[in-house]
Structure formats: structure tokens, C-alpha cells
């Protein structure tokens, strides 16, 4: 969750000045790299006490209407719209609360949040508040999966160590993952929490059948990879993408190469892969690539382990590769 970005627009998002030509039905069409950008020095105005409270004092500030008594967090109004615009007063609220409803979990994020997925985002009603504050949600135990945080779950506000005065300076974790002292502490910092480090799973020794299945599955995958590399549509799923992936299973290891539309499987060990995938049963991956299940869901359900969360991007592309091949086959049949 820690982020050290010094530029408003990170360099990796910025394309070169370039263009290319796409030919459709023997006619050329020009594509040009382009951008719309506007910079701001934007005031937080009347919201400044809330954002300064987070940044400087590790406090959460709300506002209370003296007429109806409603405590709004964040303090989005200076005057209560329900009470003929009676002026509201700022006050501090608690840093523990309950989820207003079950939060969604984002696995496929926008380009700006790809490095943060999977994450939850939901609404917490903090102690002393009547309205809900929108927050990011994480678990200290690895990947956030459905069921960990639900409507009514007690959550605790955590402050990032480096804060800039934005809503992203805070996030929440389930209070049940913290000690009583941590839950009680005001202004609890991210660095005060034990985050479980990703550990590559260890598998039991394979039997003869496992090894035979592995050999057979690798051959199946190699044949599939050739089909995918020949499919115009499937190639689009991995266009412009390059990854050398080491895949470890109970019965053996193989290499998966993605190279700008080409997809290849080789039974060999990679000395320095871009990342590692590990699954006890190779069929988990075979089913995903054969479009009999999703590889993304295998990661979520912990059947498949990946060494870098950011490589969810590659996992999505593999799922798409499988789907695009099937779509092409269906379309050919339908037409």
C-alpha cells in the first residue's frame, strides 16, 4: 500500500510521440498517440480541516448539524441541506466503525490502480458518525477475498506513514485482524501492522501418475499455444505484451512465454523469470487456458499463487487469450 510517487503523472503512463497504421479491407487508417492533460493547484477549500486532520494530526473530522443532530463524515457541507441550511459545526469522530454494506472487491482495476489491486472499497460508519466514509479496504493476510469484510464488519482506520492530505492517506482493515491495543490506538500507522509476506507454496512429492499427467498436460498446452499464436483474435489479447513466466507444479516445472502476440510453452526451468506461478495441480492452468474456468478466479481462490500482485495484469491477459480463441472459433462457426 505504500506509494512513493514524486510525479503527478508517473512516467510509465506517458507514451512517446508516435503513430501507426491499421489496415482494414485494404484501406489504411492512422492511429496517433495522444493525451489530454491539465494540471491543477487545487484548493481543498472548506474541506481543508478534514484533509489537514488526516495529514497532520491523524484525526478524522466530521460536521454536526445543531438542529437535526446529524453527524456527517466526511464533513461535506458547511450548512445542513435538511435543516434550511443551518450552519454545521466541526467535530472529531472515532477511528473504528462498521461497514454500511458489503464492499465490492476490485480485481481488474483502472490503469491508475493496477498496482493496488485487488482491493476493496466500501463505506464505513465511524463511531460518532451517521453517514458513511468511503475507504479502501485491505487484509493483512494476503489477497482480499469475498466474505472477509461484510456489512456490519468492524473495521479500523489505518494511516499511511507518508501522507499528503488526500483521502488515499487512510484505509481500513478488519478490526479482527488487529490486537486490542492496535484497535484502541488513535492514529494507527501502516508500519505498526504485521503484513503477511507472500510465500511460495511447497507441494508434496509427486507420484508416478502426477508425473504422467504433467507430461500429458504440457503437451496439451503446447498444442493449444500453437493454436493461440495462429489465431488473429487471440493474438490481440497479448499484443504488445512480453513476459517470461516460470510455472511450478507438484509434478514439474515449465516455462510460459508471452511475446507480443506469440504464446509458447516449453518444458524447462527459467533462471530469471519475470514472475512465478505455482499451482499444485497443472490442470488448474490447463482448465483456465482451455476456457473451462478462469485463471483469475484460481488466484482468488488460492489454487494458483503468483509471486507479484501486479502480475494480475498478465493473468487477465491469459484469461482473455483463452476467451478470444473460443470467441473466434464461435464466430467462424456462426457465420
Amino acid at each position: 500500500m505504500a506509494e512513493k510517487k514524486t510525479k503527478i503523472i508517473p512516467d510509465e503512463f506517458k507514451p512517446e510521440v508516435a503513430s501507426k497504421v491499421v489496415t482494414i479491407d485494404k484501406q489504411d487508417f492512422l492511429l496517433q498517440n495522444d493525451a489530454m492533460f491539465t494540471f491543477y493547484q487545487r484548493t481543498a477549500g472548506e474541506l481543508s480541516p478534514f484533509f489537514l486532520g488526516i495529514k497532520n494530526d491523524r484525526k478524522i473530522i466530521g460536521c454536526k448539524c445543531p438542529k437535526c443532530g446529524l453527524v456527517r463524515v466526511p464533513p461535506m457541507v458547511t450548512h445542513c441541506p435538511d435543516c434550511d441550511f443551518a450552519p454545521t459545526k466541526l467535530l472529531e469522530v472515532g477511528q473504528v466503525g462498521t461497514m454500511n454494506s458489503t464492499p465490492p472487491i476490485t480485481y481488474f482495476a483502472t490503469s491508475m490502480f493496477a498496482d493496488k489491486a485487488p482491493f476493496g472499497r466500501g463505506r464505513v460508519i465511524l463511531e460518532g458518525a451517521d453517514t458513511a466514509l468511503s475507504v479502501m479496504l485491505y487484509t493483512t493476510t494476503g489477497i482480499l477475498v469475498p466474505g472477509l469484510i461484510k456489512k456490519g464488519t468492524r473495521v479500523k482506520v489505518i494511516f499511511k506513514n507518508e501522507r499528503v492530505g488526500q483521502i488515499s492517506d487512510i484505509f481500513c482493515v478488519s478490526a479482527s485482524e488487529l490486537t486490542a491495543q492496535q484497535v484502541a490506538k488513535k492514529g494507527l500507522l501502516e508500519s505498526e501492522i504485521n503484513w503477511e509476506a507472500p510465500k511460495e507454496p511447497k507441494f508434496p512429492k509427486p507420484g508416478e501418475k502426477n508425473i504422467a499427467d504433467f507430461k500429458h498436460s504440457v503437451k496439451e498446452l503446447q498444442a493449444l499455444a500453437i493454436k493461440m499464436s495462429h489465431s488473429k483474435r487471440a493474438r490481440r489479447a497479448i499484443e504488445g505484451w512480453k513476459r517470461n513466466i516460470s510455472v511450478k507444479t507438484r509434478a514439474g516445472e515449465f516455462a510460459m512465454y508471452i511475446d507480443d502476440g506469440n504464446f509458447k510453452i516449453e518444458e524447462k526451468k527459467l533462471p530469471s523469470p519475470d514472475f512465478i506461478m505455482a499451482c499444485e495441480d497443472i490442470k488448474t492452468l490447463v482448465d483456465g487456458l482451455m476456457y473451462r474456468g478462469s485463471i483469475t478466479d484460481s488466484v482468488i481462490t488460492k489454487k494458483l499463487w503468483i509471486s507479484k500482485n501486479l502480475e494480475f495484469n498478465t493473468i487477465f491477459k491469459l484469461d482473455r487469450l483463452a476467451r478470444f480463441l473460443v470467441m473466434e472459433q464461435k464466430e467462424k462457426k456462426a457465420k
Binding site: E12, F13, K14, I24, Q27, F29, L31, N33, D34, M36, A44, L47, L70, R72, N100, S101, T102, P103, P104, I105, Y107, F108, A109, T110, S111, F113, A114, F119, R121, G122, R123, I125, D130, T131, A132, L133, S134, V135, M136, P146, K150, K151, Q166, I167, S168, F171, E239, G240, W241, G293, S294, T296, I300, N313, F316, K317, D319, K330, E331, K335
Partner: protein, 398 residues
């Protein structure tokens, strides 16, 4: 007394994941050309244009409609743009209806266009993350954007809120079946982006999570395309209809509502799409519909997400909240069932060219009313930050 307003012409361009061959200028003109041809009038007979364009970033211009006025042949005539999130198209129809009912004009062009997938993410070398990022600029800029708000996760919040309130509803096998059904509907729509992408419920259930609880095949697809309607007040509509020999499809009800952008006590109720409830009731009232379950035959609703399609039908009063899955389990929306829902394939399979989508839905509803000789359709648009927007129209065959 407001004037009656009817639809006398309609057209759509093919919805595609990418139109390399056309800019939004040409897509807009293409739909306009076809719509005036359908009404058998000249563009010179059109008094006004109402543009439905959702997102400046997609078109890469802050007044994207300005180049269109001359391109569609309406220079020096009235032109106004409506931008209301996902509900842009339905709200554009609402605005045009109000101007014509108020006798400001005799005819209006309702024109929706969107060019979404010019956006491109150079870090993942694909369009989708950038398209959804562009939409994510729609979220609250102080409290939501910087923590990953997206269209999908904001709708997922409401869907999960509904599931909290009505446990056991929106079963995965039901949403998968609906997605499969919509894919079958799209098969007969030559303008659909996924005309040949028929999927089985099993494939839907096997597809990957995008944002829990949404699977990839339960989500609308971003499209590029345009849609246009020709609207006319009563006398003009009758004259046009006499000439074309096509029936007038009257807009007999319009209803709209926008919700609060914060949740909690006295704010947004996360377990309902209140705007769908209020918007539809306002439209029913204007159309004189007392019991929609006995009147509405065709529903063309904005299915941004299949789960939301179910909730929206419940908010419309067409199925009880607690037994919303009876849409499939009791066959209410199955072929031959009580309601014909999204015969175009919906936004899930026909596609979601945002500003054009609800106008495409009206095009489809009109077509179904005419071809199947049915009487009443409900057309719907919804958009969401957390403050959901809804506009509903009741269409009736003369």
C-alpha cells in the same frame, strides 16, 4: 396542456468495440442520415438537435458537440448537449420531449454518439484499463477518485447492498442464465457488437471476476457507435407517419430522479436503486399506468451489469424484491414469458456506446412495438457515481 410527442424515425450505427474507420463526426452523421431517411424527411425539416454525449475525455474535447452541428446539417438551428452519466441518452430523450411538448419546436433530432476506445493504456498495452479510468474521472474528486472508485465497483456496492437486504437473491446461476439469454437475443440484432458471441450459463459462471460480485460475462461492453431518433409534435408526427406509412410511437410518460452522492442516515440507501423506483413511478403516472405488471410488455433497460438488470426490474415494480430471481425461475423474462426484456441484447451484448446506448434502446423498443404489434414499452437509462441517475420513458404504439 402539453403537446403529444411521438417518435417517427430512428436509426443506429453498428456498435463495435473499435471503429478504426470512423471518428465520432462520421458516426454521428451516419446515424443522422439513416434516421431522417427512416422518417422520409429532409434534414432541413428538423428544427433542433439534442446531443447525448457522456464523456468529454472519450471524444477528446470539452465541447464535443460543437463540430457536429454543421456536419449533421443543422447549422444555425437549436442545439443543446445533455451529459448525465450513463443515463445521458435517456435524459437527452427527456429534454427533447420537454421542448417539443412545450411547443418550442415541431421536430427534434435526438442524437447520441460515443467513441470510447480511442483511449489506450500504454502500460498494459490495452484499451480497457484506460477506458474505465476515463469513466472513473466521473467519481467524486475529493473522496472517491483517489481510492479506486470505478463504474463497476460503484454498481457492485449497490448490488451487494441489495444482497445484504435480500439475502439469497441474485443467485449466480440466475445472473448467468440472464447473460446467456441476452447473448441469444443479440443473435438477431445485426447492429450488436457481440452478435455472434452466444454464451452458455456455464461459460458465464466460469468467467473471471472483474469486480466482485461481477463476472466478466455479466458486464456491459464498451462500444463505439451512434443512435438517432426523430421526434415530432402531434400534427407534424401524423403528417410524417402518413407519408412513411409507419406508425407513430408516442412518448406518453417520462420520469427522472438523481440520488444523493453520500451514503448513510438520510442519504443514499445502498440497498436500492431509488432513482429507478422514483423515475419509473413518475413515468407511469404521466402515462396513466396504474399497474405496470399489466401494462408493460417490452422493457429496454440499461443493463450496465446483469445483477443491476434484476434490481432495476424490481424497482420498476415488475417483480417483487424478495423473489427477483423469478425473472428466470418462474420464466417472467424467458422467451414466451410475461416481459420481453432487452430484445436488442442489452448493453451487455449489443454494446454500451454510452451517450448512444439509451437511444439505441429506444430504437429497439420502437422496432419491437412495431414488428410484434405490441402496445407498451418502458425505456430506461441509469448512471452511477454513488448518486445514481435515472430517466425512464413509456413508449406506446398508436
Amino acid at each position: 396542456m402539453a403537446k403529444r410527442v411521438g417518435i417517427v424515425g430512428a436509426a443506429v450505427t453498428p456498435f463495435r468495440s473499435r471503429w478504426y474507420q470512423k471518428t465520432y463526426y462520421e458516426l454521428a452523421q451516419m446515424a443522422t442520415r439513416e434516421a431522417v431517411a427512416d422518417a422520409a424527411i429532409s434534414i432541413k425539416d428538423v428544427d433542433s438537435v439534442f446531443y447525448g454525449i457522456y464523456n468529454d475525455i472519450f471524444e477528446r474535447a470539452c465541447i464535443p458537440e460543437s463540430p457536429l452541428q454543421g456536419i449533421i446539417g443543422l447549422q444555425n438551428k437549436f442545439g443543446i448537449r445533455v451529459s448525465n452519466g450513463g443515463a445521458t441518452g435517456a435524459y437527452t430523450l427527456s429534454a427533447a420531449h420537454a421542448y417539443l411538448a412545450g411547443e418550442r419546436f415541431k421536430t427534434a433530432l435526438v442524437l447520441g454518439v460515443e467513441k470510447a476506445t480511442d483511449c489506450f493504456d500504454f502500460s498494459s498495452m490495452s484499451a480497457t484499463p484506460e477506458v474505465i479510468k476515463s469513466i472513473a474521472w466521473s467519481g467524486d474528486s475529493f473522496f472517491e477518485q483517489k481510492i479506486g472508485w470505478s463504474a463497476s465497483d460503484s454498481y457492485a456496492e449497490v448490488v451487494l447492498g441489495y444482497m445484504d437486504a435480500y439475502p439469497g437473491t441474485l443467485k449466480p446461476e440466475v445472473t448467468a442464465r440472464i447473460s446467456s439469454l441476452l447473448s441469444e437475443m443479440a443473435r438477431s440484432n445485426p447492429y450488436a457488437q457481440r452478435q455472434f458471441d452466444q454464451v452458455t450459463p456455464e461459460e458465464v459462471m466460469n468467467s473471471r471476476y472483474i469486480v466482485y460480485p461481477f463476472k466478466e460475462l455479466e458486464i456491459c461492453v464498451y462500444s463505439e457507435g451512434a443512435a438517432a431518433l426523430i421526434l415530432a409534435e402531434e400534427e407534424t408526427a401524423k403528417a410524417i407517419a402518413k407519408n412513411t406509412g409507419k406508425p407513430i410511437i408516442w412518448i406518453t410518460g417520462m420520469g427522472e430522479a438523481n440520488e444523493h452522492s453520500f451514503a448513510g442516515k438520510n442519504q443514499k440507501d445502498m440497498s436500492h436503486i431509488v432513482s429507478d423506483y422514483v423515475g419509473s413511478r413518475r413515468a407511469y403516472e404521466m402515462a396513466g399506468i396504474k399497474d405496470p405488471t399489466k401494462t408493460v410488455q417490452v422493457v429496454e433497460l440499461h443493463d450496465a451489469f446483469v445483477h443491476q438488470l434484476e434490481i432495476t426490474l424490481a424497482e420498476f415494480g415488475l417483480v417483487p424484491y424478495e423473489t427477483v430471481d423469478s425473472l428466470i425461475e418462474d420464466g417472467l423474462m424467458l422467451p414466451g414469458g410475461k416481459y420481453l426484456v432487452n430484445p436488442c441484447g442489452g448493453l451487455t451484448y449489443c454494446g454500451h456506446a454510452v451517450g448512444a446506448s439509451n437511444i439505441m434502446s429506444a430504437w429497439s423498443a420502437r422496432k419491437e412495438l412495431m414488428e410484434r404489434k405490441l402496445t407498451t414499452a418502458l425505456v430506461h437509462g441509469t448512471g452511477s457515481t454513488i448518486s445514481q441517475y435515472t430517466a425512464c420513458a413509456v413508449l406506446e404504439h398508436e
